[in-house]
């Protein structure tokens, strides 16, 4: 009789242990696009398909899991030493596959959908995040944290970010006015950032009024349109570095009718703080608040 039991129980036990083992290796999850995918429980070879993803993985202290990054993954500096898989809009499928990733993390805006689909057809799971604003960026940090078993670290990062936002909001609430800000991304043609961009959100949070009001996300401007808008603060991103910035600044200086020119409030900022959906957006926010409302920060010091 005993042996008969064993005959039934043993296979069941073996089956259970196998299925339990299988569950420990992979897990089912839903990415930020709502697609349900199967990912490894403890991914060891991650290919990050955008500079922002790479930064978040470093912020979470999980860089040992990274097998590859994209060409402009330059923050922190050591990320640039990892193997490259093309730029994030022009991914090199062959290089990605050659790194034998057990997970790829992609962003919805920028990564071509065709690459994501091809990777999945090659049995590489792809988790897509979709950060559209500060809130969804923080959500993405939480989700990547959960993927990499670094949920605790992710939570404390987000908590810290929320505190920093509150602090800026608290300071800006004391401001008497909302200066008109023109944020210039492109030099020729003149391109700014409209609604539905991080830049717009950050300018508003930092107590400024973004002069470019869409409808396009990245509208183009003629020089006379900018003059009519008469910005009080001019911010130029570092996609135009050094000399280019000086020449652009000189160009605008020909029109002292612009309040920003009259009061010498033309600033150069690092674009990576404003267009990469990473915790560094908070650095961008604090920098903007200082540039737009220097008076508030003087009092504080």
């Amino acid at each position: 009789m005993r042996y008969k039991y064993l005959v039934i129980v043993l296979p069941v036990l073996i089956f259970l242990s196998f299925s339990a083992g299988a569950q420990a290796v992979v897990k089912k999850t839903t990415d930020q696009l709502g697609r349900s995918i199967v990912v490894p429980d403890n991914p060891q070879r991650i290919v990050s398909l955008a500079p922002s993803i790479t930064e978040i993985i470093y912020d979470l202290g999980q860089e040992h899991r990274l097998a590859g990054v994209t060409r402009f993954s330059d923050f922190p500096a050591e990320a640039a030493k990892l193997p490259k898989v093309g730029s994030f809009v022009r991914l090199d499928l062959e290089r990605i596959v050659a790194l034998k990733p057990d997970l790829c993390i992609a962003v919805k805006d920028g990564n071509p959908r065709a690459v994501v689909e091809r990777l999945e057809s090659l049995q590489v799971p792809v988790y897509v995040v979709n950060p559209k604003d500060l809130d969804s960026m923080m959500e993405a940090v939480i989700e990547i944290g959960a993927l990499l078993n670094a949920g605790k670290k992710a939570k404390s990062l987000v908590q810290n970010m929320r505190l920093r936002i509150q602090r800026v909001e608290f300071l800006v609430a004391k401001a008497s006015n909302r200066p008109r800000v023109f944020y210039q991304i492109g030099i020729s043609p003149i391109v700014s950032a409209g609604p539905d961009t991080f830049i717009h959100e950050l300018i508003s949070l930092a107590g400024g009024k973004n002069l470019s009001q869409g409808p396009a996300r990245y509208p183009r401007f003629s020089r006379e349109q900018v003059l009519i808008l008469s910005p009080e603060v001019f911010i130029i991103t570092s996609m135009a570095k050094g000399e280019v910035f000086e020449s652009v600044k000189k160009e605008w200086s020909r029109w002292p009718a612009i309040p920003a020119v009259r009061n010498q409030r033309i600033f150069l900022v690092d674009s990576n703080l404003f267009d990469r959906p990473t915790p560094r957006l908070l650095d961008g926010l604090e920098l903007l608040a200082r540039l737009i409302h220097p008076e508030l920060f003087k009092e504080e010091q």
Partner: protein, 336 residues
């Protein structure tokens, strides 16, 4: 007359076999090289039926490089054949789908299709075809009334059609906020990188019947080259044959354009080289063009993949760098 036909067939078979071998060799090189180095061993292992130890290399070779090389071969074959047909029909050695603006017209159609949210097949393929037909009609209207033999009128019409097409393309690209057009500039320069085997299969299924049609009409092309009157007395329905050839060619070209954008000057290189070696018989030239055009494009694509240190360049850059100087040379020579 009767005893000559077998000789032609023999010649067709011999030339085709030789060029088929060339095509297979280039395809073999094409799938064994890439941005992650050489997979020569994996290719040989897979071909000999041996189960390769490295499944990743297997994936790279067969699921990434192989569809791409196949696509390159199909596109090269189509564009070379397109060049051959246009050169015969328009009796102009410089005619070529890209130079005449047929490719540009297809691109406009394809972009409109993409903007309208159509699927690649059959939606975008259809709008691209309409675009190519529209430019073809425009071209024929512009150069009709005058003798079609006048080389420069036709070329000039083509240049203008092309300029107009690129203006419309830039217009569409500037007007839209559509994120789908992010990669459009690359696509316009001729991009083979995003090919999967399903799409290549569909393309092959649409192109192969066209190849056969053109081969069946290759003797008519010979007769047409002897002059309209001559062809008519030999029993060729000129209007019908011309229409069938032009429409078939435009259809082929437009289907390749919506898969991999604009690859310029491909239709010049192989037809000219082959005519130089094989003579003017289109019954030999059509299959020869298909096979060697494929080989040519596979090599161009390979160069586009291997030359840049990081990433890759559009294959159209390579084809234009080889083809445009040849065009200038041919133009200079034809003036004499």
């Amino acid at each position: 007359m009767n005893h000559k036909t077998p000789f032609v067939i023999k010649r067709i078979v011999a030339v085709s076999l030789l060029l088929l071998l060339l095509l297979l060799i280039t395809m073999f090189i094409g799938i064994s090289m890439g941005s992650t180095g050489s997979g020569l061993k994996a290719v040989l292992q897979s071909l000999s039926g041996e189960k390769g130890a490295d499944s990743m290399l297997d994936t790279i070779v067969w699921q990434i490089r192989f569809p791409r090389v196949l696509l390159a071969a199909l596109v090269g074959a189509t564009l070379s054949l397109g060049g051959l047909v246009f050169q015969a029909l328009l009796r102009n050695p410089l005619a070529e789908p890209y130079i005449l603006g047929i490719s540009g017209g297809s691109a406009i159609g394809a972009i409109i299709g993409i903007l309208a949210g159509l699927s690649r097949f059959p939606g975008v393929s259809f709008t691209a075809f309409l675009g190519s037909i529209a430019t073809l009609v425009l071209l024929l209207i512009m150069s009709s009334g005058q003798s079609i033999l006048k080389k420069n009128t036709l070329l000039l019409s083509g240049v203008m059609v092309n300029a107009f097409c690129s203006a419309i393309i830039m217009f569409l690209v500037s007007m839209t906020q559509n994120a789908k057009l992010h990669n459009i500039i690359f696509w316009l320069m001729g991009d083979l990188s995003m090919s999967d085997i399903g799409q290549v299969g569909i393309l092959a299924a649409t192109l192969l019947p066209c190849f056969i049609i053109l081969f069946l009409y290759s003797h008519s092309m010979n007769l047409l080259l002897m002059g309209n009157e001559m062809a008519q007395t030999m029993g060729v329905n000129i209007r019908r044959v011309t229409t069938i050839l032009l429409v078939t060619t435009s259809f082929m070209v437009s289907s390749t354009v919506c898969h991999c954008g604009l690859l310029g000057f491909v239709g010049l290189v192989m037809p000219h080289l082959l005519r130089l070696i094989l003579g003017p018989d289109h019954r030999v030239l059509v299959p020869a063009c298909i096979l060697s055009g494929g080989a040519y494009m596979v090599i161009c694509d390979l160069l586009a993949r291997l030359l840049p240190q990081q990433g890759e360049m559009p294959a159209g850059v390579i084809t234009a760098m080889i083809g445009a100087p040849l065009f200038m040379y041919l133009l200079k020579r034809s003036k004499r």
